[in-house]
């Protein structure tokens, strides 16, 4: 592997853009949520303030080595996804390390952060963390089912697993997007996205508004800062993934921002409308309509 420093620089730059766009996007979404609820909401720069505050906290505690490693795993998962994702279509510099692995790598690299986070939270010894993780993992298994079917459908449709090639195949007009060429797969995947982003009705994992619960319960200070950083990156990278797969990708940063915002907004929108599911409800939900849509997408091949 020859080290290409220009490329490394662009990769780092991309990461920073993604991070900041992720933070801004989360602020916007919280703002929208507040307005829907009739509140004023946070200022747009609140996420940066939180982040800086978290990184600056002076007194911290740790429960052991795995407690340390949890956030590292988690952030590695987010950054890794970014590294293996082609961000902008047609740009070698913005395609990161995507030439080392294909869509399958992306799918499985999601688990890297999840698993590490689960273990780190486990070492905290906080029962709420365990409960959150067990719910999160449970829900995640079935979220992936329609997603898997959609991915298979796509791979067969385009006869490739390379994300860049899938994007390339969608160029030349909006009607070439997967959204129109393979609507069922798109629908299945977009429903599974609701679960992946963990907004209501699939937010039992963290269960905000109740007593603090979920994997990050014990995390604070820099640990929490790392987790928030990751959340920002991850949200953007995942929307970029959906954008690449179903909505024709993006050939410049502006297009990327618009598309990722809309995709993310979809999950927030649903979250505003629907109340929270219990875990067994959400687990089964993905095996109903989304699964059927996914199977139709397969059968129509």
């Amino acid at each position: 592997m020859n080290i290409d420093f220009t490329k490394l620089f662009f990769t780092f730059l991309g990461l920073m853009i993604v991070l900041n766009w992720g933070l801004l996007m989360s602020a916007i979404m919280r703002k929208i949520g507040a307005r829907v609820a009739g509140r004023y909401g946070i200022p747009w720069f609140q996420p940066w303030v939180d982040l800086i505050k978290n990184y600056a906290v002076r007194s911290q505690i740790t429960h052991g080595i795995m407690f340390y490693l949890g956030p590292v795993f988690r952030l590695s998962g987010g950054v890794g996804l970014f590294l293996f994702m082609p961000i902008l279509f047609g740009s070698n510099l913005w395609s990161n390390f995507s030439f080392q692995g294909d869509l399958i790598l992306i799918l499985y690299f999601q688990f890297f952060g999840m698993l590490g986070m689960a273990l780190g939270a486990g070492e905290g010894g906080q029962p709420h963390s365990f409960i959150g993780i067990s719910r999160g993992l449970s829900q995640f298994t079935t979220i992936e089912v329609p997603m898997t079917l959609a991915v298979i459908s796509l791979a067969v449709q385009y006869h490739t697993l390379s994300i860049s090639e899938i994007v390339a195949a969608q160029q030349g007009g909006i009607m070439n997007w997967t959204m129109f060429t393979n609507p069922f797969a798109t629908a299945a995947a977009m429903l599974s996205l609701l679960g992946a982003f963990g907004h209501s009705p699939f937010d039992l994992v963290k269960a905000p508004n109740e007593i603090p619960i979920g994997p990050p319960t014990e995390y604070h200070g820099t640990f929490l800062g790392v987790l928030r950083t990751n959340a920002a990156i991850l949200h953007v990278v995942e929307t970029v993934l959906f954008m690449n797969l179903f909505f024709g990708g993006a050939s410049n940063w502006f297009e990327l921002i618009i598309k990722s915002f809309l995709i993310y907004f979809w999950s927030v929108f649903v979250g505003m409308v629907f109340p929270r599911f219990r875990i067994e409800q959400s687990v089964v939900w993905f095996l109903k309509v989304p699964l059927i849509l996914g199977i139709i997408a397969i059968l129509l091949l």
Partner: protein
Amino acid sequence: MVTPIFIVATALGVGFAIGVLNKFGRNFTGALVLAALSFMTFISFQWFYALTFNNLSEAYVFTGGFKPPFAINLLMGQYESIATLMINLIGFLGAVYLYKSLKERGSDAQVVYLILIMALNVLVMTRDIFNLFVFSEITSVAIAGLILLEKGTRSISAGFKYIIATSVISTIFLIGIVFAYFITGTLNIDDFIGISLSTYKGGTIVVFLIMISAVLELKPFPANGWGIDIYEASEAGFSAIISAATTTASLFVLYKIMAFAGAEWNYYIALIGMITFIGSNLLGLKQDNTRRMLGYSSIGQVGLLITILGFKDILGENAPFIFFGILISHYFAKAGLFWLSGIINASNLKAWSIIRKKPILLFLMGTFIFALIGFPPFPSFFAKWTLVMDLVKTGNIVWVIGILLGSLFEAIYLFRWFGYAIKGDAEKTEEYKIEFHKIIPVWIVALSLYVLGYFIAQYNEFTSVINFIPLAFVALIFAIDFMPVLIKNTIAIIGMIFYFYTIYPQLDNLRLIFEVIFLIGGILALIAGYLHKGKRIGFYPVALLMYAGLTGILEAKTTLEFFYGWELMTAGSYFLIIRGKRSMTHALSYMLFSLAGAYAILTAFGIASVGQSTWSLSIINNIQYIPLWAYSLLIIGFLTKTASIGLHIWLPGAHAEAESDVSPMVSAILLKAGVFGIVLTLIGMGAENNQYSELVYVLGWLGAITALIGNLAAVFQEDAKRLLAYSSIGQLGYIVFGFAMMTHLGWLAAFTYTINHFMYKSILFLTIGAVVLRVKTHNMYEMGGLIKKMPFAFIAVLISIIALSGVPPLSGFAGKWLLYNAVILKGWYLQGAIAFFSGIIAFLYLFKLISSIFLGQLKDNHRNVKEISIWFIIPIYILIVGLMIFAAKPELILQPLGTMISQYFPEGGLNWNGGMATTSIGYWHGTHIMIIVGIMFAILFSWLAFLSRKAQKVKQFNIVYSGERPFTPETTHVSYNIFAGYNKALGFLVLPWITDFWTLTTNIVHDISGFVRRIYSGNGQTYLTHIVLYVVVIYFVFFN
């Protein structure tokens, strides 16, 4: 040469002499009896040797100075010499065993015993049919007389039933003889053969009468209540003689009568035998009395032998080999078992756990049971093999199914009994002593079985190829079993290394992969054995037996060698499994599934050999006769070992309860034998050939569903080892699924899974096993927080679960990536989706495994546990190195694998460009991904470590939970039933309906057995009615 008449003369002479000399005391007369019997044995041995090895021709002996028909003549041919040798030998050994018992009853009993053996000799040798009648009466009278001399009413009523039943049978016999004489004017069997008795007017009725009485003497089911009683009630020594010697003689009588009865009888004889074999063994299922059960087993075996006699014309020149192979195994084994039952003196099966006090007796018992069922290296193995092959070749598959069904019934109760002996809960711990003169004959018959097994194998051209070297090594290890673990373990490891070194150049790449898994994996698992102190009696012989079998499968050039290795492996693994603490039932179900699978394989090999001139294993590449059935049977047989869904119920218990270092042997290693079998079968079907696509399609779905159910069931386990066991089922499901795709990539994925599963499941089972040894529980919710006590164990588990889950950059991802590509290119989308779904479910149980054990709250009683033993850490970390190499340089393994698979699937492989692997749709660079992730991880870790460098380490309970500060680990450690919500949602998929199905099947079979056995009312008169009805029924069946 001493003429055979001296067999009779010696017995009679000594008999009369004892009448005169009994004043010298019973020891003297006893010695005389032994001397006479040894001389008789010598005579028949001399004839046997001369007839077999010196090409002596058979000899007639004429009595009274006349030739037949005016006098009786005896024949000593080759079969006669074998039969008389068997009778006299067991007579001699039986006399040794019964020495004290006969002495107590007096010199009369000694004489009667001697006369009994003599009468059996005459039954074999005589050519005069009236003489047959006379000596069968003498036999009955002698047996009844000996029983009369016993104490107690049980044996007396049994003896009475016996004497009236045999008298009725003899009456029928005599009527037949008289009429035979009336219509032919001769009593000589050779004359009957010459003149074809049944062509005479009324000849068929005469033959019928003679035949039916000969059959009735053999106690055919169901007209045999009197015979079973005698097995149960008489002294063990007599039961042994009746089962071994009398049976041999009676079978010989039937054989002689069949010679002149005409070929039209063969079918009915075979049918009678088959009904007896299946019926008797079915009824044996419900027995809890040892001796009665052995009686059913004896009669069942005789039924099988009768069937073989019925098929003697069809089996042709192999018939004697088959007949004597099974007879001799039955003869030695049953005598040995009856003798043992006399030594142990435990009438109830469950009470046999007291045998454990003397492990050497357990060895003898095991020898006999395995010989009866037909395991290698015993003669019955080769005989049964030849029998099945020949029957299938001649188009008698239905009979084969009957034989295998009966054998399976027999295996059920014999192995259940053996299970009680090895693992049952001893209620009473009665002391028993082994008398020297009683144990010696048992030893002799047991060793004879081994020796004969070896020599019988040399008899046939195709059986002589068996490689006995690994078995000899097992015997060596057995011989030094008294030594400490340190020595035995070292010898075993050196032996295996040496064997691997000598064998690996002979293997092709396919077999080499499996050989590495079997032997190198075996060596690594053995290293953990150094942990054990003391002797660990019985472990090393059986472990090595399994490895001998495993390597035998790989070395096999012929179907026989393959099956031989397969059965050795089954035997060895059975013993390994049953060593676990609560493994009795699991080992039994393992054995039964394995046997049923083995029988399926056996039948398939038989079908494959139709129309082939060779026994080479390559015949399964070109099956000419009903190939779809043959391949299906092979696959079903192998699926029992890979524990695919429906055939998996033995696995969780067997793996979970096994000892810590045994679990990896029976999970990571043993299951791969089934994988190898499936690979062979699929190669046999041929890659280009699409005519079995339905079969592999079904196999693919089966694999996917197995993966789903196995993984899902693992999620809900609370027992760590049981969780891993279910995980193995799921993993094997992927492997089967991958192979079923029958594409290059599918196979590559399956092989990757095979290798990976071997490594990470070895690591997991070894680590968890080692943890269990420290914390003394399997239940995960009783552990917790062990990361602080066992960091090495934690790291091992962490790495292996990352690998298992398929998360990049470790080697599990290679399997996932290949499988995705293969599924998409093959077009098995839905099955593929199920497989991937189950892959994600794996996260649930992996998280539960690692977090419940190592994370969370440390329990108070574990505050002083230490790191797992160094003897486990060594093999675990060797395997981790292997795992990491595979992850960092996957091309090192995948490229040769691809080359190997190209032999079978030349198209659609991976393209390699350095470390970059590409398919027509995807690409992946394992090494670079590893580097990228590694660097990124390191950077982020140092960054966080820098940021939180001042973090303060806090104690265990420094958390706040639901508004309280928790104070006990038990209430704070979340592990028990953590996936309750998931269970609510999807738990219905893993309700134990498969177990219920098998339980129901078992119950139905046992209920039938319990119902049918009520015909044996215990009333002697009812038994006589059975006999009469039996005659009538056979009459109408035969004469339509």
